[in-house]
Subunit: 296 residues, 3 copies
Amino acid sequence: MYNFKNVLPFLDEVNYEVLGNENNVSFNEAVNLDNQHETSIIWLKSGLQKNEIIANFIICNSVEGIKVDFNKQTILIVENPKNIFSHIVNGLLVKKKIATISKNCEISEFAKIGTNCSIASFAYIGDAFIGNNVQIKEGVIIYDGVEIGDNVIINAGTVIGADGFGYSKNPNGNIVKFPHLGGVIIENDVEIGANVCIDKGSLGNTILKEGCKIDNLVHIAHNVVVGKNAFVIANAMIAGSVTIQDNAWIAPSVSVLQQLNIGANSLVGVGSIVTKNIPDNEIWVGSPAKAIQKKN
Amino acid sequence: MYNFKNVLPFLDEVNYEVLGNENNVSFNEAVNLDNQHETSIIWLKSGLQKNEIIANFIICNSVEGIKVDFNKQTILIVENPKNIFSHIVNGLLVKKKIATISKNCEISEFAKIGTNCSIASFAYIGDAFIGNNVQIKEGVIIYDGVEIGDNVIINAGTVIGADGFGYSKNPNGNIVKFPHLGGVIIENDVEIGANVCIDKGSLGNTILKEGCKIDNLVHIAHNVVVGKNAFVIANAMIAGSVTIQDNAWIAPSVSVLQQLNIGANSLVGVGSIVTKNIPDNEIWVGSPAKAIQKKN
Amino acid sequence: MYNFKNVLPFLDEVNYEVLGNENNVSFNEAVNLDNQHETSIIWLKSGLQKNEIIANFIICNSVEGIKVDFNKQTILIVENPKNIFSHIVNGLLVKKKIATISKNCEISEFAKIGTNCSIASFAYIGDAFIGNNVQIKEGVIIYDGVEIGDNVIINAGTVIGADGFGYSKNPNGNIVKFPHLGGVIIENDVEIGANVCIDKGSLGNTILKEGCKIDNLVHIAHNVVVGKNAFVIANAMIAGSVTIQDNAWIAPSVSVLQQLNIGANSLVGVGSIVTKNIPDNEIWVGSPAKAIQKKN
């Protein structure tokens, strides 16, 4: 069981106020409002809640409009309840697994693997370079020439460094395969979902920059660059040689045509078909996508 | 070889009429019209057929317009030929494989597996609960905390129970990962295609209710609920916390934005982008999707 | 190191002109313009190049507008520089891997495998027929009844021959599974991307004809036919019984509704939703897709 004392280390550099009972109230499970018990820690989006609040430990940005019992509950008031909830729960309640190399994976003798890495069953690692604290989940395939930084998570079934889709036709109509000699560079703190495909560069590299996040079933073609802390959400299709700048947000099921530039801090709405370059700080939506406003 | 006598057990509670030769006609293969031989069983959509019918055993809803030889062929007249054909062929001609646990899969010692289950090669089962008569195909990954009912089929390469895509940003711009502590509940008679991703709930559960069917390459995000006998067809993207009610039909390549409700018995057309709640019994199509009619 | 003498065998039946220094100039790496060194071979789209050209070996269609040093560089003038570059680089610089059957794959004792095939780790091959010079990459699943020709490449995580998505409802609302007894036929020189799904035919076959190319994360449903040298690009969804004629080009994220015919030499633009048959030699775009012009 945890109580306010256990939570304190996560409140460094955070402005907070604590109300109610700080000492004799404890929790041991993180749930959402629909599943709360007395021993729960929860967070609230706003003070207007249809559910009765019975969880012992409540994180919110205002106590107004919430019916609580100051004798029985701890109420932590912060500006960003979701973030603080995440920090506390990740720190106290999410089980840390010990880093393990499965006996059922296969790793090339020429691979270089850092410290504290997990490589799960049925994963294959070719002649790749992998940093520290990296988690390679079940069935992930990583080919020769892939370089992965620290603290990277790659979810199950994802394929990194396969040949891109590059062909041209001879005058006689025969198809010629363009050579794929490039690599994939994945920087620190990148997370990649399940059943994703990230092709290697044809002649240069495909690059996922620091902190970017790729959701499930995304296609990242050869020579794409995804910027720092950019998000590419589920089922998106990013064609060859596209550059997504830092902090861009590519919503689910978006398609971006080849060689385009998606500006920093831009947002592309769900299902959009992007056929032109997008400037920084703009919101584009539709098929073909058009600017609808500047992002604030 | 089978003949009308073997078919009889599949006609309980079905209104039927049999024409032609019931006794001396037999079949041993189910094919479509383009591939028929004398020893075939076939079904017809309607009586207007450009192909000559040579198959020995014909299931249709009327003999009108069909040229057959009553001495050589058995003609079974039923209201729903496709259903009856499926029942007969599934019963007589589809080989039942003996339930087998492959020596090349990996199962956690804490997993609970019911009777008569098949778990194929390169599948990984964590601390999950699996019912009876379940088929887990090659390369399927099932994580801790997943609960699977009876008669469930999960096709190759599908990942069930990976962390959802949940992040928020600190005021300093740093990305915080939201904790993923929920599970996945898959009820009886669910079938899931190949290379599908079904993320676990963040704090509650992701739920696939009884009899629902999920096609290939579908993304089901955290905390989604798919209703009874609902269909989600290939390449669809269902974002976090969406509820799809019973008997809804989500056509291929549809995207549904987060937290929406898709009504019971509704139909969403191919490639639609759903940005609003859909009431029961309606047909919605387009980008953004709009109601086009009530479903009858 | 290679020089013009090594390149000569790739210029049979090609009209070319060679300028600059043919003899004392050599290369050992193929790169793009951004990554060139003196020891590079490169190709140029056109004569207008912002980058300075320092690569020793340059393939282009005209020397006009390019600043080169005829004493230090070899310039090969051809009509189609990209094709010739591909031929030379594939021949000289792309490492040929020796065909290997991994000790970590599983192959049915009833499978028939030709000569010079590679089958990688965690691949599963059922009772299938596989020709010569076939590359089956990591984690590929190939079911019973699949027939594969010569020189086929199937990338990691792809599933070939799973049951299609075919159901009908009984009058009482119960769902009946349509039997899936067909196969998959993959002809010579086909290449298939990663995490693709190619379902088997329900009663006939799903067929990928000679030389067609399928990109990552594509769904090919039961009984689809993909024509000779046709291209189906990433994240496309081809529904049941669609026929794609020879040399058609299906752009990324396209959805094609069931039983449609996509004409020979047609082109369907990115993200299009195809709801009607497309005649030969036309370009269709949009949702629903409409003809925008004849292809020349």
